[in-house]
Symmetry: C2
Subunit: 322 residues, 2 copies
């Protein structure tokens, strides 16, 4: 490579609605980015053709950039196989060999993983976990995703699908979950879990609350957080219970892999100290004595707006250094 050439990777985050992508250098600078509507491409082949063309376009007029790898975060992604498998929120059915399709258009190494694992890579390469070998990222969005790093490597397991803490059962016989089972961690510890908890509190308690004036279909974690800041008793109670349930899953995860830190990320984590303070307190109260004081519970060190692209890019950079 002649002098003046700069290596970049493409980070791609595929969501049910939008796909965002960007060119990212080794230091985590996003040099160019764009997006396209995932749902506009019912055929995967058309999606890949348009996506790879758009990535090529990002490089236009920047002749000094050399694309050396591609990382993709996508729902139901299988890292081992480079596939997306049976993703309920995507139009592409069955098993989609995404890495292979992309490589046919742009001949560089392509790695694929789910968005929570990508977030963990982002934390490790560009964020708050740069020097950590053992940590966990929980993405508290509509659901709960998790990326687990042990001995410096993301845990993919035998199948490539490991790290599904959102679907570990924390309340036997508890709330219905989208996975078809009951009591999964994400039915309590997520933005939608918080909304469900408010509805339950409204049924159980007689306190006055501004949340009684909002149709349940319009309730959001953001509105509940705002009400909590204004001392709405239902919102406060619901936030506290949600913190307790988030802590519960963290306590068990600490028993499993004894991480140095647990990073909370995603919409619900934006609530800040009103959530972090009680989560820390419940974890400290309930963790096994031998683990007391051995872990930190931290906000993500990657900014929310860049995290999807940076996480996918981090995956690519990590592959290249193997």
């Amino acid at each position: 490579m002649y002098s003046g050439m700069k290596e970049v990777v493409a980070g791609i985050d595929i969501g049910g609605t939008n796909t965002v992508f960007g060119l990212v250098d080794k230091a985590g600078n996003i040099l160019a980015e764009n997006n396209l509507k995932t749902a506009a491409f019912p055929r995967i082949e058309d999606f890949v053709t348009n996506l790879t063309a758009a990535i090529a376009k990002l490089k236009e007029g920047q002749a000094n950039l050399k694309l050396t790898g591609i990382g993709v975060g996508a729902p139901n992604a299988n890292y081992h196989k480079g596939t997306i498998e049976l993703a309920p929120n995507l139009a592409w059915k069955g098993i989609v060999p995404l890495a292979e399709y992309i490589r046919k258009k742009i001949d560089v190494p392509v790695a694929v993983t789910n968005d929570a694992n990508a977030a963990a890579m982002g934390e490790m390469i560009f964020g708050g976990a740069k020097k950590m070998k053992n940590f966990i990222v929980l993405t508290l969005g509509t659901g709960l995703g998790s990326g687990i790093v042990i001995n410096g490597e993301v845990v993919y397991g035998h199948t490539g699908f490991a790290g599904e803490l959102g679907h570990t059962i924390i309340v036997p016989g508890g709330r219905d979950c989208g996975c078809g089972r009951k009591g999964c961690y994400e039915t309590y510890a997520s933005a939608s879990g918080l909304v469900r908890t408010v509805l339950y509190m409204l049924s159980e308690l007689r306190d006055e609350s501004s949340l009684r004036d909002i149709p349940p279909s319009e309730l959001t974690a953001k509105k509940i957080g705002e009400a909590a800041v204004k001392n709405d008793p239902i919102a406060i109670e619901a936030m506290d219970y949600t913190a307790e349930m988030i802590a519960f899953g963290i306590v068990n995860a600490i028993g499993f892999s004894s991480p140095e830190a647990i990073f909370l990320f995603g919409g619900l984590a934006q609530a800040g100290e009103i959530l972090f303070a009680p989560v820390r307190e419940y974890v400290d109260q309930n963790v096994m004595p031998i683990f007391k004081g051995t872990y930190k519970i931290l906000p993500s060190g990657v900014s929310e707006s860049n995290a999807a692209v940076l996480g996918a890019a981090a995956l690519a950079w990590n592959e290249l250094k193997r």
Copy 2:
């Protein structure tokens, strides 16, 4: 090393009552073994002096054996530090630098881990997990120990104490646990958990049962297993509930690390198919759909009587090949 010389390691298993140890070759043959009473040595220095002398004695008259390493399985062992820390069932208080003490007497590499992690090493080097990179061993004894292997390595975590599945909470607010908390996995999924379940069933149900004639202090998993074989309704119900609770923890562990196999080991696992069949059924019923059919639930491939020494020896062999 001159020809005819045979490399061996010493495997040492320290229990609250007995310490067993042996010389083990690379193929997993125990060439000599012996034991001493742990409790006879209230001072750790005396214990180490006697233990290392006894190991030297095992080699007497076998001049062709070359001792190349030592592995130790012990309660509350910290692999990272080579220590035993705050072990409630041992006379040695505080933090005991066991590996260092042994190395002063016998100058070879010494590795220390807890007995469940040693069992996992034994399974990987000498047992049923020889070709596996991701598996879990559950030792169902008085308590529940676990050794977790991910990407071919035992999970020690940031602290060295990871893999405490026995103290993940599966029933919030449930049974009192020796760790000071409530509802831990081992209070249900262990030999003592089975005994507690029988007592609960005797309180709840009105069925006649031979177990009503045994003082609770004399009830054992073995007696309950024998009663179940004779169709005692309480024993059968308790065994089924225990299988369901064992399965519950396995379901969540699969969500975490997606292992290829889960090995059940220890006294309770000796019950055989009367336990394995319902455990498999409950896991299959309750596991997240994406993991269905991706795991095996197996008896240990290491014989119970040799497992403690072989597991500790496997730890030593594994260190030597690093």
